[in-house]
Symmetry: none
Subunit: 240 residues, 4 copies
DNA sequence: GATGAATGAGACTTCATTCAT
DNA sequence: AATGAATGAAGTCTCATTCAT
């Protein structure tokens, strides 16, 4: 997947005569092809001619619909984010800060795990771009990340977050952890359970690494911990 | 028919002077040049000829000392890690888990902040390599990261960490947060204080985001609310 | 510290016109150019850019149709052999072992004489290749050489060849002699008549260097020799 | 041995300080190193720095004693021929043309078999050179080959060779056969016995491929058949 | 005499991009 | 709208040769 790619695609005879298509379909097919290849090879190792071949067109056609290679991949990322945003409703209605955060984290985790190359492309190639902030992608990304931020803001409003903590720091700890875990996974440093990781991150974010009970009264705290585990289990069951 | 023989004209070398240097110096200069350029451009956008120019040599000279481009940058990363390891003594003698973790985090944070491109190179280009684990760099990196792991292990041994938490998850949260913060900073999304971020990460890692005093003081009201939610969830499950 | 991003300037292609050609024509032209240059310079001294120039294209175009330099020249050799095989019918119908061998030798001789660089390339660059035997060229070459081997086998079956002689040794003497003669010619060590050489090789192969009559009865043998020469002359006349 | 050679020699630390040597010894060592490497890799794949390393000197030193790479290898070939010529006495005293030729062939065969790369270098790189004939090597080579030519001339003087045969053709058949056999051997197309090959070549050269006893015993029937063919051919010619 | 760091031309190869058809 | 042949700049890497030390 992230393998280093020389590979010279076998020269393959082009299909047929013309195959005229409505622009949207053509664009969609090219984007799909590019996305698939990106997943296999990473941005730098994606060759336009291979994308074209996979999309069933020739190089020139791609340049009819996209300014250049970079533009094409920006569009790929955008279409991905749009797809994601279309699925995000469900979390809103869950009550309880912790459970909502947990669900948001789980979603992000499973997305990144399923599309690591796209994630990487956005993180590594696009985000560092000087005018990343003016790109539509930036707004889409914000819209996506804002799920987490919303929950955090709400929690803060309710007084559930220590007021001196920077929300963006929390956000970065969450996504940073997700990414690191994902990369470790991609390096095949071991398996990785979405649920366990989700619970782990949520737990640390909420209560830190301190042993439960350390900071307060034993019995109530104990009960607290047990309730928490019950809630987590229920959340998982419901999310099925 | 023409005769079989022009036989390639003998090559004629060199015009400029020579500027002889002891190998270590030359190597050091090339590594420095490569490191600087890496910081400006990232690996893929560094071209050998630019590195050579900046190092004040020609391309060929670089290949006298390094197998190929990748090898050069591996050496760059190695020399960087060696530099870092040379400064690591100070943390050992500090007592108190939290303070030691804080110092380790601060160090990592300031390093990554100052050399984000190198970090990125190691993370993105080297770590995914199939035999990254056999590289000297891997060991150097481990030596560096192990600072954090040591503190965490110690803390766990002392019972200061909830035993169900995965240490590698904690590690990833710490470094993930550091990296995210750094990149946000690089995108010029705002200033960024090493001390504040350090304290923030440390605090969250140790105590979580809950308001101080809350964690152990779960009120009866709170429990009540949560029990209610559990009942609701159970109801939903039953209703399926 | 500088920002992480210039991101390599987009490449800007092309000035000159285009001169579009159907692939077969282009391929043919490139092969022709390569063949001509190979004849002039030999493999190692052929540089892609010169071939391109002679073919009226740029270097990149060559790589559109050929994997790499070696592949190009393999194709050159193949097309040459195919050309040869297309002309090979005529020998089959001649009766008489000696005359058939003579014609086969003459053909090989004139071919090698006209394309010594190609011969050399096949002999020196391709044949030593570890998997030469799996190349199409190997089969083409066998098809060509097999002309000689067929005649020899037939002669042996008819009892015209001393059974203790290795056929492959005979083959090597024939082709070895042809090549040596050709190279001597190429070194401009004198002219060289295809007919004379053919007759010489044939004669030695059939009867050895011993003076005619040495081994047997004088008169009959003498007559034999004279008949032989008459036959050879007739063969040449017919072959015109 | 004749393998295609990329191989990047491991950078190895130079031995010691200076190691001053009398010129002849130095030259001899460099030539020996070059010869060994030539045998392993072939001319084009011999790199000066590798030769230097093997000779225990640095590149620059080689250029003190040799004009350039080609010159070095010419000297290598020369020294080889000189070595050969120094061993050539033994054949002279043998009586009997056939036996002397056989011995000469065996010697040549075993030489070429043991130093195919050198043979190839002389044949392929040097002999085609426009002024090969002015090189000392040319004279040395002639001196070597003349062994065969002497025997042949003598045999011709004694009337043991059919006078119409060109001596240079005989020479070429002998050496051509030797070379072809050697190359087939190098391609690992089978084992190869110096003695058998020697005997085979000698036999064919002396008596041809005809079954023993046949050459001089052309039957009346045979003559009859041939006369018939001649008549037929004349008929065809007339019919044109 | 020896060193070996440095040169620099040039080889092969890749690929984003263009535009005549 | 689509094609795909062609471009050409740029990249990585090699190596014979030089010359300051």
């Amino acid at each position: 997947m992230t393998s280093v790619q020389p590979i010279r695609a076998a020269r393959s005879p082009r299909r047929g005569p013309a195959n005229r298509l409505p622009p949207e379909r053509r664009i969609a097919e090219i984007i799909a092809a590019a996305r698939a290849l990106l997943a296999e090879r990473g941005y730098e190792n994606c060759v336009i001619s291979d994308i074209a071949e996979r999309a069933g067109v020739v190089e020139g056609t791609i340049y009819r619909y996209f300014e250049n290679k970079r533009d094409l991949f920006v569009k790929v990322a955008e279409s991905w984010f749009e797809e994601l945003l279309g699925q995000q409703e469900d979390v809103v209605h869950v009550s309880g800060t912790e459970e909502r955060l947990r669900r948001t984290i789980r979603r992000a985790l499973s997305i990144i795990r399923h599309e690591p190359a796209l994630t990487r492309f956005v993180l590594m190639e696009l985000r560092p771009d000087p005018d990343y902030k003016n790109m539509r992608l930036y707004r889409l990304n914000r819209a996506f990340v804002s799920g987490v931020m919303e929950v955090l803001k709400e929690a803060m409003a309710k007084g559930e977050i220590e007021p001196s903590i920077s929300l963006s720091l929390l956000r970065d700890m969450i996504f940073g952890a997700i990414e690191h875990q994902t990369w470790a996974f991609l390096r095949e440093e071991g398996s990785f359970s979405v649920d366990e990781t989700t619970d782990g991150i949520t737990a640390v974010i909420f209560r830190g690494m301190r042993p439960i009970g350390t900071a307060g009264a034993a019995s109530v705290d104990d009960m607290d911990a047990r309730l928490e585990r019950i809630e987590a289990a229920l959340g998982r069951i419901e999310a099925r």
